[in-house]
Symmetry: C2
Subunit: 153 residues, 2 copies
DNA sequence: CGCCCAGGGTTCCCTTAAGGAACTCACCCT
DNA sequence: AGGGTGAGTTCCTTAAGGGAACCCTGGGCG
C-alpha cells in the first residue's frame, strides 16, 4: 500500500501523525494508559494482528513514546508510557470528548472522567496556555514560526 | 489491506478514529481549516492521490464534518467545515502543540498561533470544563458511563 | 530430569488499500 | 467548433493489514 511518510513536511501536525497516525496506534496508547501493558493483553483486547502489534510497539518505543521493560526473570516485557508518551494522552482525551459529543448517540458516553482536582465528572476544554481564556479553531491567527520550510535560495 | 473498522467498539476514541483516523484525513482538515477548500488545491498541496482524496472527502461529508458546496455555475465545489468539523480542529491544535514540543527540533515550530483574546503567541492547554484547573492524563479516574457495552444477559 | 506451559514474538500467504498516471465530463470562453 | 479548467473516475502496481501457524526461552512440575 506504500504509504507516504509525513515526517518530511514542515508541519507539527504531520510530524505527530508520523508518530501516532497509523491505524491502531491511538488504541494501543489508550490501552497502555489504562493499564493494559503486555503484548498478550493488548492483542486479546484489540483483536489486532500480532504482526501489526509488534510493528506498532516497536515504532512507539523508537519514537520514545513507550518504554519496553522486563517484569520477570523470564523474557517477559511490558510497555509503559514515557513522559513524552503521557503528554500524547492529551490527544486521546480530546478525541474522547469529541466522540462523546458527536458519536455516542442515545446511549451516552461509554466512559466518564472524574477530575481529581474537583471530584466532578468532566471533560477537557481547550484554553490558552498564556491567558487561560478558551482557545479553539476560530480564536487564533496563524503566523509563520522559526521552523517554516525554507525554499532554496 | 482490509482494515478493521473501529466503529463497533464502545469507545469514543475508537469512534472518533473511524471518522478521522485514516491516513491523510487530519491533513485534509488542516488544509480546509486554513482556507484550502478546493479539490485541486488540496491535491496539489498534499501530493495525495486523487483517488484517495475523493474517498476521504466523501467520507468526511458523509460524517457531517465537511459540507460540499458549489461556488460557481459550472460544476465546481468547495469543502467547508461544519460546526461538528470545526470542533474536530481541537484535535489538530493539540497535535500541533505536541509536535512543536517534541518533534520540532532546533528549528522550532513551523507555525505559531496568536490568540485573539490576549494577542500573544500561545498554544492550547487542557483544562477541566467544570472547574477550569489543568486536566491531563494523570488527573482523572475512569468510570463506566451510561454507554458502556452490555454483555448479553 | 524431561515435559509442558505461557508470554512474546516471527513467518507466511492472501486480500485490499494507497500511489500514480491517464482518462472523462460538464461547463464556460472565445 | 475548439480549448481550458476544475473535479472526479479508471486502471494497474505495490505494499500494508489480517490471520493463522510456527518458534524460542525460561520456569514449574510430576
Amino acid at each position: 500500500m506504500q504509504r507516504t511518510s509525513f515526517s518530511g513536511m514542515a508541519c507539527s501536525i504531520a510530524r505527530t501523525l508520523d508518530v501516532m497516525g497509523e491505524p491502531w496506534t491511538p488504541l494501543i496508547l489508550r490501552d497502555v494508559w489504562v493499564g493494559m501493558t503486555r503484548f498478550e493483553q493488548l492483542q486479546a483486547d484489540l483483536g489486532i494482528s500480532r504482526k501489526v502489534l509488534t510493528e506498532r510497539l516497536n515504532h512507539l518505543v523508537e519514537q520514545g513514546v513507550l518504554e519496553r521493560r522486563p517484569y520477570d526473570q523470564r523474557p517477559r516485557y511490558e510497555y509503559v508510557l514515557t513522559a513524552k508518551g503521557t503528554e500524547l494522552i492529551d490527544l486521546l482525551m480530546v478525541m474522547k470528548a469529541w466522540g462523546d459529543r458527536h458519536l455516542a448517540g442515545e446511549a451516552g458516553p461509554p466512559v466518564l472522567y472524574r477530575h481529581h482536582a474537583c471530584g466532578e465528572i468532566a471533560d477537557v476544554a481547550l484554553r490558552c496556555d498564556h491567558c487561560g481564556e478558551p482557545m479553539r479553531a476560530g480564536d487564533v491567527d496563524l503566523l509563520p514560526g522559526p521552523g517554516v520550510a525554507k525554499t532554496a535560495t
